[in-house]
């Protein structure tokens, strides 16, 4: 399994906002344990999906040349849940993007129903982080081909994926 918790972007306006969808399916193992007899998408993974939506939105501002890490979730409220067969729509709005990092406001919906809303703060980490270990952006935050999610939209339009 890959750590990609969004399936496709359906809207992406650089420096402004992004909207991604996540289809919940019983093929995902965790839904069989969370919870037995009551399969719902774990809130932690919805948060991850919202963070990936917002993280890529912030990353794109600097053309993925800065290392973006999830630093803080000041506020997150879950109002409802999502079950297999639901399509979660994650919306991230860029509130601030600056040298040190950025902040997004996020929401999760199933149809018109609000499932979650909150705020996420990201920090930019120096390329030469403490300890002298160079962080390779491609192998770190936007790792495990997370950016491959950008290719999904192209595939939908019959365009070739970018090489990675």
């Amino acid at each position: 399994m890959r750590w990609i918790w969004i399936d496709r972007f359906v809207e992406f306006v650089n420096g402004s906002h992004a909207k991604a969808i996540k289809n919940v399916t019983l093929a995902e193992d965790h839904l069989h344990d969370h919870f037995p007899g009551f399969p719902v998408m774990p809130q932690s993974l919805m948060l991850e999906g919202m963070a990936q939506t917002g993280g890529i939105l912030l990353g794109k501002v600097n053309e993925f040349n800065r290392v973006v890490i999830l630093a803080k979730v000041p506020k997150m409220t879950f109002h409802s849940w999502a079950i297999p067969g639901d399509t979660l729509t994650y919306t991230a709005k860029l509130i601030d993007a600056r040298d040190e990092g950025g902040m997004v406001e996020v929401q999760a919906h199933v149809g018109e129903r609000l499932v979650a809303d909150g705020e996420i703060v990201f920090a930019h980490v120096d390329e030469n982080a403490e300890g002298g270990v160079k962080i390779d952006q491609k192998n770190f935050v936007f790792s495990m081909r997370l950016l491959g999610v950008m290719d999904v939209g192209k595939a939908g339009e019959g365009l070739p994926a970018s090489s990675q």
Partner: protein
């Protein structure tokens, strides 16, 4: 031009949001780290919220300087801030409470420097920015 009290109330609301503290925990002399439990990343969060709530831009290192004492600066020796360092603080942190810097001068341990980051310091900084 907002009054000092108006700025204070907005700063207080900002800190309650950013740090998840209660209304009665925030006083003008509260220290952000020692009293309100702020951690490093919280300072970034606070700056985001202040910019949004006050409609201003706060350049990096203006409100919360990240490294006050660069290596070999002569500002600190044996874990204590030197006279030169205290002078640097008065220059780099003009919004810090004068009384707090005087207090630091009496016990100039380097770790006491973060006690200068108080609610009042943030209010003073914004007052100078806005007026």
């Amino acid at each position: 031009m907002p009054s000092h009290d108006e700025i204070y109330e907005k700063v207080k609301a900002t800190l309650i949001d950013a740090l998840g503290v209660d209304d009665d925990e925030v006083t003008p002399t509260s220290r952000l780290k020692a009293d309100l439990g702020a951690e490093s990343i919280d300072f970034l969060d606070i700056v985001f919220r202040l910019e949004k709530n006050f409609g201003i831009k706060i350049p990096r290192n203006e409100l919360f300087p990240e490294s006050l004492f660069a290596a070999d600066s002569g500002f600190a020796e044996n874990g204590k801030v030197t006279e030169k360092g205290l002078g640097e603080l008065r220059t780099k942190l003009p919004h810090a409470d004068k009384a707090a810097i005087d207090k630091l001068a009496l016990d100039p341990k380097v770790e006491n420097v973060e006690d200068l980051f108080t609610v009042n310091m943030v209010v003073n900084f914004l007052a100078s920015k806005l007026n």
